[in-house]
Symmetry: C2
Subunit: 335 residues, 2 copies
């Protein structure tokens, strides 16, 4: 129980995290006391979520500190987005093997860049010596009784997803040298790796979905697994048309090598929003997609019969025959 | 980025943490969605605090899972106590090297025993494969503008501390076989080790201090370091009388071997409340001490001149000559 980092080093770490410029009006007391104190705005519920990122599990070991900082916050903001909540504050707990100034500077640059973009105030934290593990907890606000839950999908609702699915997993395979893209797709590789390291939490779209979506979740465990969470919570089933999945333009060229339809169905880490909404919402959703410059694609429909059924054209696919098993070990395991 | 624990194992971990019976009325949505949803009672501020416990840093490697579970929550509740807040909810993030059923059962037993005692609901979490690191974040409520901050100590106020100081550190030394008690004090050793492994967060006393204490902090870094936090935040100084420190009855017998006055001044992990209050509060404080069966001892006085001055009778002690340096590496490093 001795601590290889000195008090001066810890003080210097604290100094890094006290430098953020944001001061939200409802934060009564921030870093520097036993607790932070906050007022939750009237008529709002507080939404909170906690995420752990461990080196070698949630990001490859050689990920840049800037990307780690960015991603630590992004995955938590994605949970708020999936509830339709407006991000407000965050606490940050880090165990660090060594105190390295350039690492901390990079981490803060990535973390604060995203925090500043969404006006998120860092209100507390804890720094400890240990293996690299980062825990972020975010708080946000959503009008009472309006939050997007997993449990309200209705038979007849359509199933939608934002953005493109499976790109982060292709990026990971490129980084791990487990995959090479055909030369004509080389130009995509930086973008695919960025999709892994700097996912875009769909914060604005999440808030736009309030009053429109019936159920929502963010795609962290994989599309099929996350859709199953909605289906189980809502006690319904769904039909999913794999040919409608919004996938990377390079997928057809690597389809067999990457596991076929199992890849976009099971790959995690995309942090898109998967949601259900009644058919009549379609034109509104296309407006939202346009405003936020992000595809919103209908990929299936909710049915009364429990279970997830995936179709290719009119053929029912067996998940087990699609390389799904290969992918099903989850990287993210939120309670 | 492969995960040695299977989905089934993660599911089983989740099941453990879903078993708590407590359901608070203001928790609108608990474990099982992207976020938890809460209403903060009207007229109250939300107090939040985050703490990381790493194996080998905050508890010796062979600590029982039950004690680890208990202590993970206790250190966070202690932060709420030091603000005078009423505990309400907690989130729990764990990285675990292996999924071991008996370990999890023990951890939950310790964690939920304390949670149930204070009516604290577990509202969210995240479980990941990795080295053993536990992050707890607690939320509690305190009447607006009433919280006990570090920054309001006034010259003339007396300095008080609850309970006994330095016992957890003696317990640690016993566990590490760095110290043997003289035979006549053998009967104390279990209690001293329990003070390390199962600290008592002073939740009730913290709330009683609202409107009485001018400043407060919990003793996690060590009495002198934590008093310095109050002095710096309040821009005042203090005189401290070491002979008034409430120390273990065995301290005189091991005084020289353990570092003299440096030990109670610098030893951390006691989780007592250190606070300042005007002189007229003394009789009320003795009433509170009686009701809660916990000593509240006056150990010094706030002075206008910055800095901490420790006296033995009327002799000014040099912290550097008291073995203080030996202890100053902190085990707890809250931002």
């Amino acid at each position: 129980m001795t601590n290889p980092m000195s008090l001066t080093e810890f003080q210097s770490i604290r100094d890094y995290f006290s430098k953020q410029g944001i001061q939200r009006s409802e934060v009564e007391l921030s870093i520097g006391d036993d607790c932070a104190l906050l007022s939750v705005p009237g008529g709002k519920s507080l939404a909170i979520s906690v995420d752990v990122l461990a080196s070698g599990v949630h990001f490859p070991e050689h990920t840049s500190p800037e990307d780690i900082g960015y991603k630590s916050l992004a995955v938590s903001l994605s949970d708020l987005a999936a509830m339709g909540a407006e991000p407000a504050w965050v606490t940050l707990a880090i165990t660090l093997p060594v105190m390295e100034e350039t690492w901390l500077q990079g981490f803060c640059r990535g973390f604060f860049a995203l925090a500043d973009r969404y006006n998120v105030q860092l209100v507390g934290g804890d720094t400890t010596h240990g293996p690299l593990v980062i825990t972020t907890q975010v708080g946000g606000y959503v009008a009472k009784n309006m939050a997007l839950r997993r449990s309200e999908a209705q038979p007849g609702d359509l199933v939608f997803v934002t953005g493109v699915i499976g790109e982060a997993n292709i990026g990971l395979k490129l980084l791990q040298k487990n995959l090479e893209l055909p030369p004509q797709y080389d130009y995509l590789s930086d973008k695919l790796i960025e999709r892994l390291n700097r996912p875009t939490p769909r914060v604005e779209i999440g808030q736009e979905l309030l009053g429109i979506a019936t159920a929502a979740i963010d795609v962290s465990d994989g599309l099929a697994a996350d859709l199953n969470h909605i289906l189980e919570s809502s006690q319904v089933g769904a039909r999913l048309d794999v040919h409608k999945l919004p996938v990377s333009e390079c997928l057809p060229a690597i389809f067999d090598r990457i596991g076929g339809w199992g890849q976009p169905l099971a790959a995690g880490d995309d942090y898109e929003i998967l949601f259900t909404a009644p058919e009549r919402a379609q034109s509104t959703l296309q407006e939202i997609a346009k405003v936020h410059n992000c595809a919103i694609t209908c990929i299936g429909q909710i049915e009364p019969e429990p279970g997830l059924r995936c179709y290719s054209e009119s053929t029912l696919l067996e998940l087990s025959s699609m390389g799904y098993e290969h992918f099903k070990e989850s990287q993210n395991n939120n309670t």
